[in-house]
């Protein structure tokens, strides 16, 4: 999906404005909103690879204008509605909330869940490992209309495999409930390959790319 989220290398967004002494949450409702989006997937399971496309489907200028927690909030509401867990009428208060069969995460389970994480590695999976460190690889030139994690700026580009990792679920497929894993590689690109000859020689950029994102290059 070549949506507004794929910002790498775009011009026109101006200066970066750090906020001095930025608090974790700017107001109680911001913390509450973060907590809601964190707690919901325990009751209504969805993974990041389903959550992210829900964000990516936001209307582009709204995407640019909204804060990140706001994006999360909208994505959660969208996912809950699409899965018919919640209705528009329940949301706007015109219908009383119907009891769901899902199980809310208990307060005492939260910290253990945070510290356990949610790894998408599948170390035991038998999968192809077509590339080795030092191999020159070319990334796919085009991606489809579905969710994927190959930024536009790195398509059809030649880099070198830096390291080989475990098999991981592939974002593209996992977003549509296909949990076939693939080997993940860290691939290093010369900055000049990505941005042209003005880029300082020797500067590099690395991305983590699944096996099917790559082909051998000369």
């Amino acid at each position: 999906m070549d949506s507004m989220h794929d910002l790498g290398g775009m011009h026109g967004f101006g200066r970066i404005v750090p906020e001095p002494h930025e608090p974790v949450f700017h107001a109680p409702w911001e913390g509450r909103r973060f907590a809601l989006t964190s707690a919901v997937p325990f009751a209504v399971p969805y993974c990041d690879d389903q959550f992210r496309p829900a964000i990516e489907r936001m209307e582009p200028s709204h995407y640019l204008k909204s804060s990140y927690y706001e994006k999360w909030y909208e994505a959660v509401v969208r996912l809950l509605q699409e899965r018919r867990v919640i209705s528009a009428a329940e949301l706007d208060g015109s219908a009383p909330p119907a009891q769901s069969h899902a199980l809310a995460v208990r307060a005492d389970a939260v910290l253990p869940a945070i510290f356990a994480g949610a790894s998408q590695a599948r170390p035991e999976a038998k999968v192809a490992r077509r590339f080795s460190p030092g191999d020159r690889v070319r990334t796919r030139a085009t991606m489809g209309a579905g969710h994927n994690r190959l930024p536009r700026y790195a398509r059809g580009k030649v880099g070198v495999v830096d390291s080989v990792h475990a098999p991981f679920l592939v974002a593209d497929r996992n977003s549509i409930d296909d949990q076939t894993p693939e080997t993940l590689y860290t691939v290093r690109f010369e900055a000049s390959t990505l941005w042209g000859t003005q880029a300082p020689p020797g500067d590099t950029l690395s991305l983590d790319l699944w096996d099917s994102y790559l082909e051998h290059s000369t």
Partner: protein, 199 residues
């Protein structure tokens, strides 16, 4: 967020606050979330999980060569030794700044960030400005953050686009010989571990 606190902004903020409250009410009534669990999430990231964790990792690596070796080869496990682990840090990679190389971490596609060691990302890290520019003109971005690199130092950018999460191990400042881990940890900043500061 701290800017533009005019009347319009306050109104808007009030609207968002009400919407969040309304959603919480509905989700609680439906049995999808437990308000007490929400409290735990908020508190965890306000008090337990933040850049002080990462600073401890850095200070330990600066103080203990064997730990540093483990950190650079098996980051997730080494970070786990200090009790830090979990969501958005399941597969950690530590990238080391050296006299030859400066590292910068970003996420152009969303807001991936190593939560167990750095907590939740600052607003600027998630901004279109940082996401668009960090990969294309990292040196200009660094200059805006006040970081001027010596000539000949290479820049390596890490765009956290998949399951790995990156943290920078800054160079230990020369004047800190003999300092305790605690004292060292106190000088390590969040930005130093993202790469937008030297320490």
């Amino acid at each position: 967020m701290s800017q533009g606190h005019d009347h319009h902004h306050d109104d808007e903020e009030h609207g968002v606050a009400l919407r969040v409250k309304a959603l919480e009410r509905v989700l609680v009534a439906k049995g999808l979330v437990d308000p007490a669990a929400l409290d735990v999430f908020v508190e965890a990231y306000q008090t337990k999980i933040g850049p002080r964790n990462g600073a401890k990792v850095v200070a330990r690596a600066w103080s203990d060569p064997a730990y540093k070796a483990r950190l650079l080869t098996s980051a997730t496990a080494a970070i786990g030794e200090l009790g830090f682990s979990g969501l958005q840090g399941e597969h950690m990679v530590i990238v080391e700044n050296t006299p030859e190389t400066h590292n910068l971490v970003t996420c152009t596609l969303c807001s991936c960030y190593p939560w167990p060691v750095l907590g939740l990302p600052p607003v600027w890290y998630k901004s279109p400005a940082y996401r668009s520019r960090s990969v294309r003109e990292p040196r200009k971005v660094l200059e805006e953050f006040g970081v001027v690199l010596p000539a000949g130092k290479k820049v390596r950018v890490w765009d956290s686009n998949a399951d790995l999460r990156y943290m920078v191990l800054p160079e230990r400042p020369a004047h800190t010989a003999g300092w305790s881990e605690e004292r060292l940890a106190a000088i390590v900043t969040r930005d130093g571990m993202i790469g937008t500061a030297l320490v």
